[in-house]
């Protein structure tokens, strides 16, 4: 017994010594000193202590590159163009790069280390992204699986975004999910209110972030978000507008409708909003209010499977089928722009219908996230 204990003590001691040696060696050997990071040919330059991943280095400088796997090299979202200083493509990056990306010097920023001067190119709008600390001011229950979260900005105290864009929300560690993750949510609020944002979220079965939002987040808690991101916004034309959304997809469209009201945009617009049962309907009164306040706006809620015995008298069927029937009767439909937000299945189906109606594909707008 005694011998075993002595052996354990010796092994532990040797282990601890080796670990200390390793930490020391890492500090000495991997001491890259100060290195320069140059973004977009001198648009932004800074010096950092070398050794960290490019993603981490940029995040520390409050430059937010999209990422969905927390830097583990499994989502492939964190691509940036490296002009100089990243060495050759790593085996961990290879599966994520096609031939064109390889030729252009695209890299996974979470995989490459900043060891010497590095020059990168990123889309200019990523440089305007900020991190916001907020307080969850109010949580509104809309349906059994849909809630609205009103976040008040604490630091910085105001945000500017293009109506239709989204933010990334940080779900911190909680019981059963010990690691923090970011998820995207469209801003649904009135963009005139710059001191806060509202999000409409649907619970996803066993989802990391929605479980946090629905079961753990309380009013007055602190929430961290960064953004804004995305290219889903109202184009500056006079074309009539077709909005098609399902469930939480109403969020960015509501924001765009506020914007149309604030800026007295008088374009003709029709909004098909699909849900499954009448219990899934929400924000109907607010949409009816927009019908009164906007110059030429029609709201068409569509229920696909109304409950037996319900007194639903509105449009019934799949939202895209109802939209197709309605739009077929519109003489100038091919002049319209289509703004789509919802599940990928709904978007695929809506895109097909808009194309069949003669609306060119470059007039279909939606957030792609494949």
């Amino acid at each position: 017994m005694g011998t075993i204990i002595i052996a354990i003590v010796i092994i532990s001691g040797v282990g601890a010594f080796l670990a200390t040696l390793l930490v020391f060696a890492e500090r000495v050997i991997t001491n890259y000193g100060d290195v320069e990071v140059d973004i977009n040919k001198g648009d932004k330059k800074f010096t950092v202590r070398g050794g960290g991943s490019l993603l981490e280095t940029l995040t520390n400088q409050k430059i937010f590159i999209p990422s969905a796997c927390g830097g583990r090299g499994t989502c492939g979202y964190c691509k940036v163009k490296v002009l100089e200083g990243a060495g050759t493509l790593l085996p961990t990056e290879e599966p994520y790069m096609d031939a064109q990306e390889r030729a252009e010097g695209i890299r996974l920023s979470c995989q490459i280390k900043v060891r010497n001067k590095i020059e990168i190119e990123i889309p200019g709008d990523l440089l305007t992204i900020r991190e916001y600390s907020c307080t969850c001011e109010k949580i509104i229950d809309y349906t059994y699986d849909m809630k609205q979260f009103n976040l008040k900005l604490v630091e910085p105290t105001s945000i500017t975004y293009t109506p239709g864009q989204y933010i990334q929300l940080l779900a911190p560690a909680y019981e059963g999910s010990p690691e923090e993750v970011y998820r995207a949510y469209s801003i649904s609020s009135d963009p005139a209110n710059k001191s806060g944002i509202e999000l409409i979220v649907r619970r996803v079965p066993d989802g990391i972030c929605t479980t946090y939002l629905f079961d753990h987040l309380k009013e007055d808690d602190t929430v961290r978000v960064n953004g804004p991101y995305g290219k889903f916004y109202l184009r500056d034309t006079n074309a009539p507008i077709i909005f098609i959304a399902g469930g939480s997809g109403i969020a960015p469209i509501k924001c765009i409708l506020h914007h149309m009201k604030n800026t007295t945009i008088k374009r003709k617009a029709v909004f098909f909003f699909g849900v499954r049962t009448t219990k899934d309907l929400f924000l109907v009164e607010e949409m009816k209010q927009f019908e009164k306040e906007l110059a030429d706006f029609t709201f068409i809620p569509v229920v696909s499977q109304p409950e037996e015995g319900s007194d639903w008298h509105g449009a019934t069927g799949r939202v895209t089928t109802v939209a197709e029937e309605f739009l077929k009767r519109m003489p100038t439909v091919s002049d319209c722009e289509g703004y789509l937000c919802g599940s990928p299945g709904m978007i695929d189906s809506a895109v097909k219908i808009l194309a069949d109606l003669g609306i060119p594909e470059d007039k279909h707008y939606y957030d792609k996230f494949s």
């Binding site: 969905a68 796997c69 927390g70 583990r72 090299g73 499994t74 989502c75 492939g76 961990t92 599966p95 994520y96 059963g176 999910s177 010990p178 690691e179 993750v181 998820r183 995207a184 649907r202 996803v204 079965p205 066993d206 989802g207 990391i208 479980t211 399902g246 939480s248 997809g249 699909g274 499954r276 696909s304 499977q305 799949r318 939202v319 895209t320 919802g342 599940s343 990928p344 299945g345 709904m346 189906s349 996230f369 494949s370």
Partner: protein
């Protein structure tokens, strides 16, 4: 069997909740390879291959996708519903595969049994023979799955 550093890394990712709430291994104490082995043996006993199973799962999902979240009757035996959510979830294995966060629920009208899977489950079964660890929220028991999807 000695594991490579890559295998260790993969197993650590699967145990973590980085990609999936509660992880892919649940409370299962077995190694990833033991889990995959045991389920492969069970599948063989049931007379099915992982390719058959994944193909049938995909077929049921595909039939309900056009209904955009409504329940549809598939054949005489099933009611199927595909609930599509925005966003993609990456496969934890080191390759560039991302799946929709889409859940298929099948309800067997005769037995009353319900089984659910996500698109990622179909990929994990087909490509990696992985049904996930016991206690993981998306673990599917091969026997329950085979009994349900091939029932007539």
């Amino acid at each position: 069997m000695k594991k490579s550093p890559q295998q260790d890394k993969l197993e650590a990712l699967l145990r973590s909740s980085k990609l999936s709430a509660c992880g892919f291994l649940g409370e299962d104490k077995r190694s990833l390879w033991e889990i995959i082995d045991a389920d492969a043996t069970e599948l063989e006993r049931l007379g099915r291959t992982r390719e058959d199973v994944a193909a049938r799962m995909q077929e049921l999902t595909d039939q309900a996708v056009p209904a955009l979240g409504d329940w549809v009757k598939v054949g005489k035996m099933f009611q199927v519903c595909v609930d599509d959510n925005r966003g993609m979830i990456p496969c934890p294995w080191p390759h560039a595969v991302r799946c929709l966060k889409r859940i298929t629920t099948i309800h067997h009208l005769k037995t009353g049994k319900t089984v659910r899977w996500s698109d990622l489950n179909i990929h994990l079964i087909k490509e990696h023979g992985f049904f996930e660890g016991k206690g993981a929220p998306f673990r599917i028991e091969p026997k329950d799955l085979v009994d349900s999807i091939f029932a007539s």
